[in-house]
């Protein structure tokens, strides 16, 4: 039976002819259900999704990369909401047209962020500190017949760090 990820709905905090907008106050912003749905809307319409967050509340890199892949980004407020920066602290100019239909964002630079894996955060890291913890399936009906699985035994990763100079040109 397929998973049914689109059962619930959401409305972005703002929408115009060239943007979708979501304002988030959560301190640990992750790629949860509501944002996934809004990204789906962004993908299907070609409208970039912009997320506004308070300065000092970093979004998870997976969120930043997902919205940037659709032409949007995560904007951090500064000066009590009077100005904005991107994830690297670069100033970003944000203007809304008179009728609120058009959003212009200038100076935003896509940010890779910290590693999406390992201890620096990333997919699901805050929710599931124990990789062996029992799962809560999305669709309980599907999970009822699920046999328990044995996770791969964690091993010590051994990728050596690269030396300088950098390999990329």
């Amino acid at each position: 039976m397929p998973r049914t990820p689109l059962a619930k709905g959401t409305i972005p905090d703002g929408q115009g002819s060239n943007f979708l907008l979501e304002v988030k106050g959560t301190s640990e912003l992750q790629l949860r259900y509501q944002l996934r749905l809004q990204l789906e809307q962004s993908r299907l319409t070609g409208q970039p999704l912009w997320i506004i967050k308070a300065a000092g509340q970093k979004a998870d890199p997976s969120v930043t990369r997902a919205v940037e892949a659709r032409g949007g980004g995560v904007l951090y407020t500064a000066d009590n909401g009077k100005t904005y920066t991107d994830g690297d602290g670069n100033p970003v100019q944000v203007q809304v047209s008179k009728g609120g239909d058009q959003l212009t964002v200038q100076g935003y630079k896509p940010v890779y962020g910290a590693s999406a894996t390992g201890s620096s955060g990333g997919l699901n890291s805050a929710q599931s500190p124990d990789p062996n913890a029992p799962s809560e399936p999305v669709n309980p009906g599907v999970a009822e017949g699920t046999a328990p699985v044995t996770p791969v035994a964690p091993e010590e990763p051994e990728i050596p760090d690269l030396p300088d100079p950098e390999v990329l040109p």
Binding site: R3, N18, N124, S128, N132, S135, V149, V152, I159, P163
Partner: protein, 280 residues
Amino acid sequence: MSELRVELFTPGILRDQAEGRALLDALGEHLPYWMPHRYGWSEPLRNVYDPARPEHFWDTAHGLAFRNAARNASGEVDVRMGPWDILSKITLSGRVPRSQLESGTGPFLSQCGRALDLTYAMAHIFTERQAADYYRLWFETAPSDDGTVRNAAQGPFPHCLRDLYWANVFGPPYTELFGASRLRTAPAAVVTELRPGYFYLQVTASIRDLTDAATVPAYQAARDAVKEHLGPECFYDPAAATPRRAPAFRTAAEEGLWKPREGVTLGPGVQELLDRIANR
């Protein structure tokens, strides 16, 4: 901290269960440390991978995210569902045991090249700074930003490749671009014609050449020699005065994979794209 990164690009929409099984088979055989443990559509990733039910895992209609049991590697499937999209993308990245890194990376990529309809694929080790550069170039290789989300959706592919990486798979569009004979004679450590139209190129014998200061210069020289042989104008060069060369890709809208939904406000440029398609 360095990480191994593998990216697979395909013109397909990755709905076929055989594609999911092919990916899982290749992972299980060559990079088992990266086998999915948790997976789902949004965080938290609530599903636990069950080898007996790969079809429950490979439900990619709206995208798929997963991570390994050790929580230090993750994967993502991003299907070309937007109007501007030209390729679907499977991304795998994270830490990996040395033994699998050395013996599994190349075979994993080449097995994917045999089993999946890949346009292009790469595997490479990046430091965090290199990963950031690699990411940045996705957005910055386009000659100009036309105000649409096209650049973000298409990345460098309409213009060039970002670089030649340690391991590479070139599918039919790139085989046509470079020429099969040029690919066959590339001065790379490994050149394998996986099947007609699909080539695997590995710059040096060992991926560890990227991680040893003593071998990096030799790696760079080998990489540059292969790029020179294939056609340096097909790769990103910030100092280049001449236009780059790339295959001609078609958007999901042009291929009929995406259609506007009634009552939906379309983003900048999308209606013009539709008008262009209608007027052909």
